[in-house]
């Protein structure tokens, strides 16, 4: 199809936009392998020394551990609550569905700073101080809408007649759920869980309000390190995070494809 000059221009523009989105991130990865003492150009050779330094840095390792535990717990709670709510919205006719949907995504519509302030001050009034529990509650509440959106989108495509067949063959609702519905749901559950994990792992805005003194997650640790200057170590940490947060979802995507291919969907 001949689409002319205009089309070529648009294609070139799109190319530039993608360069704009990816180049700075690529530079982070490139510089993390920089052998020189300073995290800057010109590069003096390739080296893994900053990754080794990273593995020896106690503060970063602690932050990593905190982020992993926080992300995993957030994903677990958020996905459980979110899948239940999504099931209700997709499988049942609920009166006031629009209002309920709006309430469920309200945490995204409220600016995160406001959400952070409100939760911090309210729980403080209930004598729940800055703590891991507050951090977890905050992360659950703002990942929940994303989980519900993702899971709902996947649920729509799951056919209901298989469940009905199981029920009509004498399976109880609970048997049906665990042997039919849950396996079919699994890709949606995994997708929601991964999404919640990455959002939690990445969060800094709310986390800075909620975290107790001395506790750092990976993003707040990077933020604190930036106060001094940008070091090759930060770039190395960035590369590890990119590998983790890009690699995990891609892996999840591949697994989900695999599973839906196996189940003949």
């Amino acid at each position: 199809m001949n689409r002319g000059m205009g089309w070529s221009l648009i294609r070139f523009w799109t190319f530039l936009v993608y360069i704009f989105m990816f180049l700075p991130v690529a530079v982070v990865v490139l510089l993390s392998f920089n052998a020189s003492e300073f995290g800057a150009f010109p590069m003096s050779g390739l080296s893994f020394r900053w990754f080794v330094e990273l593995a020896r840095n106690e503060a970063i390792l602690r932050a990593f551990q905190t982020s992993m535990i926080l992300g995993a717990l957030t994903a677990l709670i958020s996905t459980t609550i979110g899948v239940l709510a999504s099931l209700a919205l997709i499988r049942y006719k609920v009166p006031g569905q629009n209002l309920i949907s709006t309430i469920l995504i309200a945490p995204i519509l409220v600016p995160e700073v406001v959400l952070a302030v409100a939760l911090l001050l309210f729980l403080n009034a209930l004598s729940i101080n800055k703590s891991f529990a507050l951090l977890l509650a905050g992360h659950v509440i703002f990942t929940l809408p994303f989980v519900i959106l993702v899971v709902q989108a996947r649920l729509v495509s799951i056919r209901r007649d298989v469940e009905e067949a199981a029920m009509s063959l004498g399976a109880s609702p609970i048997q049906t759920f665990f042997s039919i519905t849950l396996p079919l749901l699994l890709p949606a559950v995994l997708a929601g869980g991964l999404f919640a994990f990455t959002i939690s792992f990445d969060d800094i805005t709310g986390t800075l309000f909620w975290k107790p003194g001395g506790v750092e997650t990976v993003p707040t640790q990077i933020f604190a390190m930036l106060r001094n200057s940008i070091s090759p170590e930060i770039n190395a940490l960035g590369t590890v995070m990119i590998a983790l947060t890009v690699g995990l979802p891609l892996l999840g995507l591949a697994i989900a494809r695999r599973m839906s291919a196996n189940s003949g969907g």
Partner: protein
């Protein structure tokens, strides 16, 4: 209890954990800070309960807060316009490209997975005194001294555009992708030029996506406080920085409550206007 009654109760059992969590951890706290914003924080750090308008008077009349609020809205507006103007052609290209659509979409999703703080600080590697651009210019002999390009309002906007561009492109893409291409062919066969077809058919039909992307960009940009801290100078504070200062640094929680609610009111009004004209469904499409 009859089968029907149980059927009717089931969805509420499934929904209740989510609804209870959001009520207890979002709506009740928001109500709480509304009440709290009328309290007073004394110099000794004690709260005085009651109905005092002092915090609101300070938040609404102090020039300092007003100027920063206006500046924050200005930065958010510029960011949104740049995202729209730069992102629209890219979204259009993705929607209309036949072969690489899936690949381009996957690439577009990748930045969502790369940490926000990493993407923001990555610009220091590019624009810093010993960053890529200065090194390049020095090497080419165009400059003798590194230029100070970082830590101003322009780099704050740059960081925000970089962060929010995928949101805009994705929303416009969903809209353009949903347009029946027969409409464009029909306009063409009736003698409209490509430009005429775009202006009178494609662009109007893609406005809902553009509006959804615009709303997301504006609200997220106006609520940010990390980007100005990382890429801005000392004078580039945005409104959310004031909230953080009041709450975390000064520990003046009643004032911080009033400032938070001010931000919520301004951005909430925007969401309501959007909801009135376009409804929330469009916003869901882009995010799902």
């Amino acid at each position: 209890m009859g089968v029907e009654a149980r059927e009717a109760r089931q969805p509420w059992i499934l929904l209740s954990p989510a609804l209870v969590a959001i009520t207890l951890l979002l709506f009740v706290p928001l109500g709480f800070i509304l009440v709290y914003s009328f309290w007073l924080r004394t110099a000794t750090g004690a709260d005085v309960a009651g109905f005092h308008l002092d915090n609101w008077a300070e938040a609404l009349t102090d020039r300092f807060y007003r100027d920063i609020l206006l500046n924050t809205l200005k930065i958010a507006a510029i960011t949104t316009v740049v995202c729209a103007v730069a992102g629209y052609p890219a979204a259009y290209f993705i929607a209309r490209s036949n072969r690489n659509k899936g690949f381009l979409l996957l690439l577009l999703m990748l930045p969502f997975w790369v940490s926000y703080i990493i993407r923001t600080m990555s610009w220091i590697n590019i624009l810093g005194v010993s960053g890529a651009l200065n090194s390049l210019l020095l090497w080419m002999g165009l400059i003798d001294e590194p230029l100070a390009m970082l830590y101003n309002e322009a780099t704050v906007i740059l960081g925000l555009v970089h962060f929010l561009m995928p949101f805009m492109i994705l929303n416009v893409f969903v809209s353009v992708d949903g347009i029946d291409q027969n409409l464009e062919s029909a306009a063409n066969s009736l003698g409209a030029t490509r430009v005429q077809t775009f202006i009178s058919v494609t662009l109007p039909l893609s406005l809902p996506g553009l509006a959804a992307g615009g709303l997301l960009c504006f609200v997220l940009a106006a609520g940010t406080y990390i980007t100005p801290l990382v890429l801005g100078g000392p004078r580039d504070a945005m409104f959310a920085n004031l909230v953080f200062e009041a709450i975390i640094t000064q520990l003046n929680w009643p004032l911080g409550s009033a400032l938070s609610l001010m931000l919520l009111a301004v951005l909430g009004a925007l969401v309501l206007v959007y909801n009135h004209f376009l409804g929330m469904a469009q916003l869901m499409k882009g995010m799902g």
